[in-house]
């Protein structure tokens, strides 16, 4: 394998594994805050136990998120030195701000939150939980600001030697890409956490253990899951889709598998893109729907891949197409299932409906798959650019780090993360087995 492919795989592997954890951290931080609020308002010890249980899971998840997050920041320099040299003066701002404003906040108050409940008043402890939530969402904000700049660079000019010079600090945060991408991503984190909570609750109800907690977890998870699943599609997914349509039209064409420009473009539900013959095989389509979703007109023109030079096409149209369709397909299923579960909850039948509880429980891995597919859509969609329109991916990696060295460390990370994943599942399994009333 050549060095470029290995550098890309190295980043892809480590970021994909890493993001399995922060998405739960960010979503769960919000749901723990909800449980803490319920505990504070009702004074009921039940909610305190529930919050402590999720705080224990949060702690393990957070630890893995931290240790797998450190390599991400290092890799900009180790594996992508040309990119860092050119763009460090711009994205270094947002990355350094993440360290200074969110990591210190999170790490300081996570300790207070996890170890300080006996020492602090209930309100002060609620506030520590709030600061952990705030720190993690702020961290997400700076990371998305960084990615949004790579997707849609703003506030810069090019220097004489090709270096990218920051001209407007404010532009980093008023980037139109940032708003929807941030909301879409954070809503996705809430979807993951809601499904995890509901799934554990459903497991307790189905196995007749810790049932009072099972009911709480299912209730909170289903309500939060319903709200967040709908918000995923509209307005955040819709807003993000329009960003792509207006700023990366070739990406939209590739995502949708639209090879030819059409007035009244169809929306492909299923089908396999054939980039040789420029067509979608076995298509299942909704006529004119893509035109309507993009421009609110049934016969608006949507540009197909054919209308762009081949060298600006995303370099892996097929994988981009599948990633996007997996994300949207799963998102649709989530909305449907959660609407059904919320209806049963409202009717008061959910806790007894074993079939529905089975579905809720088995949904656990799918939000992780959906968010991963979503990020693959964003990152593959940006190709062939590392910084959209400015820097191509093959010009960004470290020229002196040979393929052999990258493969060595990629294998190292694969081994390390396999062990980490096994340990994580083992510890989480034990926490779930022992249940909420087990003292830590």
């Amino acid at each position: 394998m050549d060095a470029l492919t290995l550098h890309r795989l190295h980043f892809a592997f480590t970021i994909t594994f890493h993001y399995l954890f922060p998405q739960l951290t960010m979503g769960l931080a919000l749901l723990i805050l909800v449980l803490k609020t319920m505990a504070l308002r009702t004074g009921n010890e039940h909610y305190h136990h529930a919050a402590r249980f999720w705080a224990r899971i949060f702690a393990v998840n957070f630890a893995v998120g931290v240790v797998t997050g450190i390599p991400m920041e290092f890799q900009f320099g180790t594996n992508w030195s040309r990119f860092s040299r050119a763009a460090g003066g711009v994205i270094g701002q947002t990355l350094a701000m993440e360290g200074v404003f969110s990591f210190f906040l999170e790490s300081s108050f996570l300790g207070v939150f996890l170890f300080g409940e006996k020492r602090l008043s209930p309100k002060a402890h609620w506030f520590a939980a709030f600061l952990v939530f705030f720190g993690s969402w702020l961290s997400g904000f700076f990371i998305i600001a960084t990615n949004a700049w790579m997707q849609h660079p703003t506030g810069y000019r090019l220097g004489a030697g090709g270096e990218i010079l920051l001209t407007s600090f404010a532009a980093l945060f008023t980037n139109p890409w940032l708003f929807w991408q941030y909301l879409h991503n954070m809503t996705g984190a809430v979807v993951t956490a809601s499904f995890v909570m509901a799934s554990v609750g459903a497991f307790y109800l189905l196995s007749h253990t810790h049932e009072p907690y099972g009911r709480t977890f299912v209730r909170v998870g289903v309500i939060a899951g319903t709200i967040s699943s709908f918000l995923m599609a509209f307005p955040t997914g819709d807003g993000q889709g329009k960003n792509i349509a207006f700023h990366q039209p070739v990406t939209l064409a590739a995502m949708e598998g639209l090879f030819h420009t059409e007035n009244g473009a169809p929306l492909a539900i299923l089908g396999q893109p054939d980039t040789e013959k420029h067509r979608l095989d076995n298509p299942l389509i909704v006529p004119n729907a893509l035109s309507f979703l993009t421009y609110q007109r049934w016969h608006a023109e949507v540009r197909g891949l054919d209308s762009f030079p081949r060298d600006v096409w995303p370099d892996n149209v097929q994988l981009l197409y599948y990633s996007y369709h997996i994300m949207v397909g799963l998102g649709t299923i989530f909305t449907g299932l959660m609407a059904l579960a919320a209806f049963a909850l409202w009717r008061g039948t959910l806790y007894r409906s074993r079939r529905l509880l089975w579905l809720v429980m088995l949904m656990l891995p799918f939000p992780y798959i959906a968010t991963t597919a979503g990020w693959m859509t964003a990152e593959l969609g940006r190709q062939p650019w590392l910084i959209y329109g400015i820097m191509r991916t093959p010009t960004g990696f470290s020229p002196h780090v040979s393929a052999g060295n990258v493969l060595f460390t990629l294998i190292g990370f694969m081994g390390m993360y396999t062990i980490l994943g096994i340990l994580f599942l083992f510890l989480i399994h034990r926490e779930i087995e022992e249940g909420p009333e087990h003292a830590a």
Binding site: S84, L95, G99, L166
Partner: protein
């Protein structure tokens, strides 16, 4: 402006070494002074609520380096590729050894993670020391400001050197010793009884080795990197930094011997900060000297980001650091006293 950011990054790295240094050192001391499970729990409790925040200084310093000196970040991180990756793996192992250890009560689980914690802590101090040695010695930079170093070659400190040569290994050993003493003094400060006594004894024995190592590396550093002498000649006031280190070093011994734990630990902080600031002052304005042609060296001027970015950075960096100091004062206050 470049000098201001050089000082900020140096201070953040200094804060990292002093703060994470004591929990790394506690890791090195872990198996040496804590024998029973209760004692080992006490060692971990002594760093429990703060180690993660201490480690954030490394991330924040890295981020600040990235933003203020992107060309230095790009060159050094890709050039030190292999040791940095090993550092990352060690940080992962160490982080989970602290977090996962107490989740399961078992005579197999605990000793395993104790060994991982001690081993990864010791290796990290060695790698950080070697990194410092490499920055002082210089690396074979090319005209584009890039280089790549293998882990070792023939162990000479010449232009064909690897990450590890006789000089950088010496600095690595000095770092291991200095942080072991630093960690032992922290454990003495936070513990009572037998653990307190053993920590003090460890610190006082290691102190002699630290003294020997400091004398040796001071002498050879001026030989390996002639620029140090030129810097101190040009700015004699910079001798204040090695003086701080010297005062810290001896006060550390006296305070430990007379049982003043807090003063001994603070002296060790002064010693470490004095050593690091001496290096920074000795290298300035270089940030990564070239071991082949001095003209190819990376300086604060040829690696800094554009002026607008550096200026606008001050507006968020200074308030951010004030906030951070407030968190740390709050956390350490609420964690004050023996565990």
């Amino acid at each position: 402006m470049e000098t201001t950011w050089f000082c900020f990054v140096a201070l953040m790295l200094g804060a990292y070494v002093v703060l994470d240094g004591f929990d790394l050192g506690a890791g090195v001391a872990h198996l040496l002074i804590a024998h029973s499970d209760d004692e080992r729990r006490a060692v971990l409790r002594s760093i429990g609520p703060v180690w993660d925040g201490n480690e954030v200084w490394l991330l924040a310093a890295g981020g600040t380096l990235y933003f203020a000196f992107p060309a230095l970040y790009a060159s050094s991180f890709s050039g030190f590729y292999l040791p940095l990756m090993i550092v990352l793996w060690l940080l992962i192992l160490r982080g989970i050894s602290i977090e996962f250890r107490n989740h399961i009560e078992s005579l197999v689980w605990h000793p395993f993670w104790d060994a991982v914690f001690a081993g990864s802590s010791a290796l990290l101090t060695i790698f950080f020391g070697a990194a410092l040695g490499n920055v002082v010695r210089g690396v074979p930079l090319d005209h584009a400001g890039d280089f790549f170093l293998p882990l070792w070659t023939d162990f000479t400190a010449g232009p064909e050197a690897g990450i590890l040569d006789w000089y950088t290994v010496l600095v690595a050993i000095a770092a291991l010793l200095a942080l072991t003493a630093h960690g032992a003094l922290w454990l003495a400060l936070k513990n009572r009884g037998v653990l307190h006594a053993r920590a003090r004894v460890l610190a006082s024995i290691v102190w002699w080795a630290v003294l020997a190592a400091v004398i040796t590396i001071t002498l050879v550093s001026f030989h390996v990197q002639p620029h140090l002498q030129q810097s101190f000649d040009a700015r004699p006031w910079a001798y204040a930094f090695p003086l701080i280190a010297l005062v810290g070093l001896f006060s550390m011994k006296i305070m430990n011997a007379t049982g003043r734990d807090k003063e001994a630990f603070l002296s060790s902080c002064a010693f470490i900060l004095g050593m690091l600031t001496s290096v920074a002052a000795g290298l300035y304005p270089y940030v990564l000297p070239s071991s082949t042609d001095p003209a190819l060296s990376l300086t604060i001027y040829n690696t800094a980001a554009a002026r607008y970015g550096l200026e606008v950075g001050l507006f968020w960096f200074i308030p951010g650091m004030l906030l951070t100091s407030a968190y740390f004062i709050y956390t350490y206050r609420s964690f004050a006293g023996k565990v």
